[in-house]
């Protein structure tokens, strides 16, 4: 396939209509939201849109030339698929620009029931090969794939040439342990699962205890970390906990660190990536305003043939663990 270079579409997260407006006002081209139930992978208390809010949110976006995508990206429960089907119906009736889904049952339902509804393949599907992506294109007619965060830039370049579908890549925000859509760690320690109920480390299972000057984090029955004074904290997930192995304390699975691929934007544009995505529907208006502004200015700078370097500092202090990485995009360990 030939590579089509185009201006990168900036896709930003929104956990509320207020956050959606903040994202667009800061420069987002598109925003992705979820409904306030288990059909999306950020099913946290008080977060997300009510189904009744969605039509107004879509109208607001369209009036500003922006697009709204609805994430219906958890895996439908056997014997209880109604919530996922209703979410697809709600999205289609509200006139969203696309739904983002991973479950083949959800994709099949959307394809058959709403033939005009644009389908994007969620990162939760973990489709990182031309064959896997080709299957979703041919079978469900997906128009865009959100790549799992396990590929190097070189691998993405080859993939873009090998598939006939838009490619979207994460460029900022939280990282998982690179088994997206297949992680059972949270389910091991808590009643919730990111893939099925939409919650990794459900907050009712998270507790922090101040002991003297240090803070201990517990997830369900497990103590998973302790932060000393001045030490940066991360999300309370098992994958980012610290454990003792062979008498050594370490982040056994993954360091608490955020993805930041701002300095790869120009490369992504050159290799034909269509859209870049910001993680963090659970974060809020202040976060999305700053990140969308930084990436908006960076993308515009690239279009003008300028460097993105002046905008790196706009993201200071936002990262998990106060540290950033280019992750697998600059894979050096294989």
């Amino acid at each position: 396939m030939s590579v089509k270079q185009q201006k990168l579409e900036l896709v930003c997260p929104a956990g509320s209509a207020a956050m959606m407006r903040a994202a667009v006002e800061a420069g987002a081209d598109s925003v992705y939201c979820g409904l306030n139930d288990e059909t999306n992978a950020r099913n946290f208390p008080g977060l997300n849109l009510d189904a009744a809010e969605l039509p107004d949110a879509v109208r607001w976006m369209h009036n500003r030339g922006a697009r709204l995508m609805l994430a219906i990206n958890t895996f439908a429960r056997a014997g209880g698929v109604a919530a996922w089907q209703e979410a697809v119906d709600t999205a289609a009736k509200a006139g969203v620009d696309a739904i983002i889904a991973a479950d083949i049952g959800v994709l099949a339902y959307a394809r058959d029931t709403w033939p005009g509804l644009r389908l994007h393949l969620s990162v939760q599907a973990a489709a990182g090969t031309a064959q896997a992506i080709g299957f979703y294109v041919q079978t469900y007619g997906i128009k865009r794939v959100v790549l799992p965060r396990v590929l190097s830039v070189e691998e993405i370049a080859k993939l873009v040439r090998a598939v006939d579908v838009e490619v979207e890549a994460f460029v900022y925000g939280g990282l998982c342990v690179m088994a997206e859509g297949r992680c059972a760690l949270s389910s091991y320690a808590t009643p919730g699962s990111p893939n099925l109920s939409g919650v990794c480390s459900p907050p009712e299972s998270v507790n922090y205890h101040q002991t003297g000057a240090s803070v201990a984090a517990r997830l369900g029955a497990f103590a998973i970390d302790r932060f000393e004074p001045g030490e940066a904290a991360g999300y309370p997930t098992l994958c980012k906990g610290r454990f003792v192995v062979d008498d050594k304390i370490s982040h056994l699975f993954e360091d608490p660190v955020s993805l930041n691929a701002m300095d790869l934007l120009e490369t992504f544009r050159k290799i034909g990536v269509a859209a870049v995505k910001i993680e963090g529907r659970q974060r809020g208006k202040a976060y999305v305003s700053r990140v969308a502004d930084a990436f908006r200015q960076s993308i515009d700078a690239i279009e003008a043939g300028q460097s993105t370097a002046p905008f790196a500092s706009l993201l200071d202090g936002l990262a998990e663990g106060q540290r950033e990485t280019a992750g697998a995009y600059r894979k050096t360990w294989r």
Partner: protein, 171 residues
Amino acid sequence: MISAIVDGALGFAPLRDIVFLAGWPLEHRLTQAVRKLAERRPELFGRLGRFRTAVYILSPNELPFAFRLMPDATQATVRIVPAKSPGPSSVRISGPLATLIGLFDGSCDADSSFFSRAIVVEGATDAAMALHNTLEAAELKPSDILGLPSPLSGSFDALTGILLPRLAHVG
């Protein structure tokens, strides 16, 4: 003098009494502000779900007192309590005053404040998250939090818009 009188009259620790007496007009104003907000925007309190009856202790590091909030819509209450003995609660959120106000009006990113250890959350994390997400959706201004009448609100919000970011940096 006040503490001696109160001490003798009620038999409580002096600091606690001063906080109690000084806090009454403020807690009355804050309680009325939350209840009026519930009348104006009932959908916000729907977001809280079962956490409407949770008890939140919001404790600014710089102050000897904390705010004890039960955000139960038109039955909501805000009490001023001693920071060191605030009584039982669902969750306690501590941090610099400017940061806590920033969390209320959405100008401050809660996760960044948590990562940097500027704020400390103890107790029911789900209750804290529900309140945070509700406030995020609410688009409140500092004048809404204090329940200021509209003639004052514009100037007050403009002033806090200038002062709070500076205080946050100092803090």
